[in-house]
């Protein structure tokens, strides 16, 4: 049985801003047995279209989806788990945590020190630029969310300043293909969690600076600068009502440029890997290319007086964290993240996870990435149930879903 606190695809319905489109092209939005069959394989779905895809996929199994069922507690029992929900209690032998990694927006502690005259928003409360107060907007964070919101707010005519920490720069297309086509085809997305040099780092990586538009335009810091967005360094502190920014902006840009170029190098090597000089599946006249380095113009500002009226609102695009307040099983690390080995919560037999960053592969949090992960995790779960097949309690497994993708 699948427990869903709201409706199927709840977070796509209620917790995203209006203009959001998927980062992945439509043809990659495939779920097991459900390939994209629409007219625009290279386009990018709106959140509403993602809802349709998930609804269609869920339809055959709908009898097993209990919507409007909010889980308030999961506890261990002698032979499994007791799940308390807003609609009663369930006992089961196995639980799959499929509630995702993006349940709550995070922001630094010094957000409390921002003067009350400045309105603060998160990606959950932001809908569209027209609802922001007139005047300057400080967008904090340069991942996919930050660059998308900075661009959209800038187009509304407001002055935008973006605070930039470590980020992941990618071109939208490379050598004529979507950059995510490359991630998939070259095998980068299939890299397994137990083969990565630094899994912790891979799991903490910010989302890449991508946006899904019909122009397939690149939305990196150079593109934002060209739109008139002012870049400042990572926001480090608030002191006497002034925002203080790091003087290390150039280095985080260098790091992102170097990493992007290394990745493009991996793609080029892969494309040239067969003896004829190019792979059959990659037939393009476009030669390897490199993007212009990120330009940081002049001396980025190191501080802004938040009470001067220059900044009227702040949009925190500083990431998300999972919400496990209902999970009363001691399986979280010091940072509140789930301790698991490829989705198997080793410390608590019968507990599993799906849909977390690099759960088993780099593609784990992409829609097309769930199939391989789910198959392997569920194989483990099935073995676990078979091994302990005593007097069985129904149902044998519950999945707690926030329909993340």
């Amino acid at each position: 049985m699948v427990l869903e606190r709201g409706q199927v695809a709840n977070s796509w319905r209620h917790e995203r801003w209006d203009s959001l489109r998927l980062l992945t092209p439509n043809w990659q939005c495939r779920l097991p047995g459900a390939d994209y069959e629409g007219p625009d394989p290279d386009g990018y779905m709106t959140a509403a279209e993602v809802v349709e895809v998930i609804e269609r996929f869920a339809a055959p199994a709908l009898a097993r989806v209990r919507t409007g069922t909010n889980v308030t507690s999961v506890r261990r029992t002698d032979d499994g788990y007791r799940v308390i929900t807003s609609r009663g209690e369930i006992r089961c032998r196995a639980v799959v945590l499929a509630s995702g990694a993006c349940n709550r927006p995070t922001m630094p502690g010094f957000a409390d020190a921002v003067p009350p005259s400045v309105e603060q928003l998160t990606p959950f409360s932001y809908r569209d630029p027209s609802r922001l107060p007139d005047g300057g907007v400080l967008v904090v964070g340069a991942s996919a969310t930050g660059v998308q919101l900075a661009a959209e707010v800038r187009r509304s005519g407001r002055p935008v300043i973006m605070s930039v920490g470590e980020h992941v720069r990618l071109p939208r297309t490379y050598r004529g293909r979507d950059v995510l086509w490359w991630m998939n085809a070259s095998g980068v997305w299939d890299q397994r969690y137990d083969e990565l040099d630094d899994l912790t780092r891979a799991r903490r990586l910010p989302s890449p600076q991508l946006v899904g538009t019909s122009e397939r335009a690149t939305l990196d810091l150079n593109a934002l600068s060209a739109m008139g967005v002012e870049l400042v360094g990572r926001w480090a502190a608030v002191r006497d009502g002034r925002a203080l920014f790091s003087g290390g902006l150039r280095n985080v840009c260098s790091l992102a440029d170097l990493k992007m170029n290394r990745l493009l190098g991996v793609f080029d090597e892969w494309a040239a890997a067969d003896e004829s000089g190019a792979r059959e599946e990659f037939d393009s006249p476009d030669r390897p290319e490199r993007l212009a380095p990120t330009q940081v113009r002049g001396s980025p500002r190191l501080q802004i007086d938040l009470s001067s009226g220059e900044i009227r609102s702040i949009v925190w695009a500083t990431g998300f964290r999972p919400d496990y307040r209902w999970l009363e099983v001691p399986v979280l690390d010091a940072k509140g993240l789930l301790r698991h080995d490829g989705g198997v919560v080793v410390d608590s037999p019968g507990l599993y996870a799906l849909g977390l960053p690099v759960l088993r592969r780099r593609k784990s949090t992409f829609i097309l990435g769930i199939e391989d992960d789910a198959r392997e995790v569920i194989e483990h779960l099935a073995r676990f149930l078979a091994a302990g097949s005593r007097a069985s309690i129904e149902p044998s497994a519950a999945a707690i879903s926030a329909t993340s993708a």
Partner: protein, 183 residues
């Protein structure tokens, strides 16, 4: 890592410490100290000898003194370098140590690592000429010249990673709470 690469950095020990401290954050709390004594004029001597770390008091092998004064352009006898120049010393030595460590970890043999550090300073701030001018550096520029068995891109990555993990780069580029009291 290539076994033949030797930059003189014991990376294995550092990686082991990293592993240990991951589970023992309290042992990772260090306090670095310096004691300073006024000599005469703007000349002072600062001594560094002990520090706290890994849960207990620690000592350098030797006590070391650092003379600070101002040059003759400041009408001083120049018994030592200017205090703000010590920041350049700290930055250059920290980034250089980082380059060597990261190179060792990445299996890159270094042959020479040289750098110049320039801090641009408008002294109207400290002289009180113009209250809009800050006292500290306006900006700092570091230029590395590195000879190593590595591509230009790999060398740039060494320098970038060194900045990312540098204590002094962070201390200079980010605000730090500083409290000064009279005992």
């Amino acid at each position: 890592m290539s076994a033949t690469v030797d930059n003189g950095v014991n990376v294995d020990a550092l990686l082991e410490a990293r592993g240990v401290l991951e589970g023992a954050p309290e042992a990772a709390q260090f306090t670095w100290r310096a004691s300073s004594k006024w000599q005469n004029g703007v000349h002072s001597t600062t001594t560094v000898q002990n520090y706290f770390g890994l849960g207990e008091e620690q000592n350098h092998k030797a006590e070391r003194d650092f003379e600070a004064d101002h040059p003759e352009t400041f009408a001083a006898p120049d018994e030592g370098i200017t205090p703000i120049e010590y920041l350049l010393v700290g930055l250059a030595s920290c980034l250089t140590a980082g380059v060597a460590s990261v190179a060792q970890n990445r299996g890159i043999q270094l042959r020479s690592v040289e750098s110049t550090v320039e801090g641009h300073h408008d002294i109207r701030g400290i002289l009180g000429v113009d209250s809009d001018v800050r006292n500290g550096f306006n900006d700092i520029k570091v230029t590395f010249t590195i000879d190593a068995d590595a591509s230009k891109e790999d060398i740039e990555a060494l320098v970038a990673q060194s900045q990312k993990r540098s204590a002094v780069f962070d201390a200079l580029s980010n605000p730090t709470e500083v409290s000064v009291e009279v005992a």
